[in-house]
């Protein structure tokens, strides 16, 4: 029973916040990142799992997933479907340039004591519900808020930069090297920002895909410098899961003590 609760918590954390290191990895995986032609399509799989990039745990719910064309306009997801282990959808690429597909969202986590018994807020709680969810007379109320972003990039034709501008909310990656211009053996530099400002000292985890077929995780643990920048030299071609986490006190929810921030991307590195 206890295990069941812990598992449920782990799942809720993973689904709601891409940051949860103790839980599973959330990811989106595009069928291609570098495309040619007058128009094209990508299919994207979205899942939460242990191994990268295999569907073996939970689908990513698509409610907050959006796509943007190179001119900044929003593009509809097509053929969206959520199965037992993964969600999938298509995006039609009609413009030349770089598209962004992102799943951004946040939530409230918290606990309180009622009659001496510790209780947790339900999964998916929103800030507006807090007053309803915490009974009068509750003690030891602890609240934290989260905001996380899981995004990928695909490029038809030559890479463009318009969709790479950060939204200014939460933890984001600002490319110095274009995320669809990555080649093994070359160094790529990315800047991480929190609310649009350079984020120093953020821990970045980079894990190559294909975990199922090797013994060691092979992850690279990096940290952003004073300008929020990190440089990654790709050891091999392939898919990489990039995960960054941070926390601060810049809360927007009344009573919250901490804001937990997460950023996830899947990057494809081509052979030279």
């Amino acid at each position: 029973m206890k295990t069941g609760i812990l598992r449920a918590l782990a799942i809720s954390t993973a689904l709601f916040s891409a940051t949860a290191a103790e839980a599973h990895r959330q990811w989106m995986l595009p069928s291609s990142t570098v495309l040619s032609g007058q128009s094209s399509w990508v299919t994207v799989d979205a899942a939460v799992s242990n191994d990268l990039f295999y569907f073996e745990h939970q689908p990513v719910r698509l409610g907050n997933v959006k796509a943007w064309a190179p001119d900044g306009s929003e593009v509809a997801l097509q053929n969206a479907s959520t199965g037992r282990y993964r969600s999938t959808f298509d995006v039609e690429l009609k413009q030349q340039g770089t598209y962004k597909i992102a799943n951004a969202g946040g939530g409230i986590f918290g606990s309180y004591k009622e009659n001496g018994e510790e209780k947790r807020l339900p999964r998916g709680a929103s800030a507006a519900d807090i007053e309803k969810l915490i009974p009068a007379g509750a003690t030891d109320v602890k609240l934290s808020e989260s905001w996380s972003r899981n995004e990928i990039f695909v490029t038809l034709g030559a890479p463009t930069a318009s969709v790479l501008k950060p939204s200014g909310k939460g933890l984001e990656l600002v490319p110095v090297t274009h995320p669809n211009d990555l080649v093994s053996g070359e160094a790529a530099t990315f800047q991480f920002v929190i609310d649009g400002k350079p984020a120093a000292g953020v821990e970045i985890e980079v894990v190559p895909g294909g975990i199922r077929y090797r013994d060691q995780l092979g992850q690279m643990d990096l940290k952003t410098d004073a300008e929020g920048k990190v440089t990654i030299t790709w050891p091999n071609p392939g898919l990489y899961w990039v995960n960054a986490e941070a926390s601060d006190k810049n809360v927007s929810v009344k009573g919250a003590e901490q804001r937990r921030l997460g950023y996830v991307s899947t990057l494809e590195v081509l052979a030279p």
């Binding site: 570098v34 495309l35 040619s36 032609g37 007058q38 094209s40 034709g157 030559a158 890479p159 211009d181 080649v183 081509l270 052979a271 030279p272």
Partner: protein, 171 residues
Amino acid sequence: MQLSTRIVMTGAAFAGLAGPAAAQSIDLTVTIPRLSVAEYHRPYVAIWLEKAGAPAKTLAVWYDHDMKDNEGTKWLRDVRQWWRASGRGLTFPADGITGATKAPGTHKVSFGADALGKLEAGDYTLLVEAAREAGGRELVKLPFSWPPKPGQAASATGSEELGAVSATFKR
């Protein structure tokens, strides 16, 4: 002696301005190997020039240029090094650059002043990259310097998707 040198140089400069009269050219021979595979498609081939510090210059692309709705462009990105260096910045079909895929065998292609444009003096690489649907991909490089010395040539041989590749350079 000095006078005659000056006259010769003036003549050369004039010829250079006139362009085509200078007969500058790269004559290239590309061998596409005959492969015994169950499913064979002619490779996409890109031929281009690189020079450090200058944008790459595509000289030729052989692809399925005559498919309905220009669908053959979908696989241009599989010629991946060329795609990154130059291809992704072009629109297709590209005049004087794009052509049909070629059958296995030896193909001669000549790039004259119109194709080469004005080449600054320096060290160049002529690159030939082939990518085959449901098959492999290979890149062959021929370094050369420009302007070429009389009789200057370069050659290299691929091992899978390209056979012998050779070029002579004239100016």
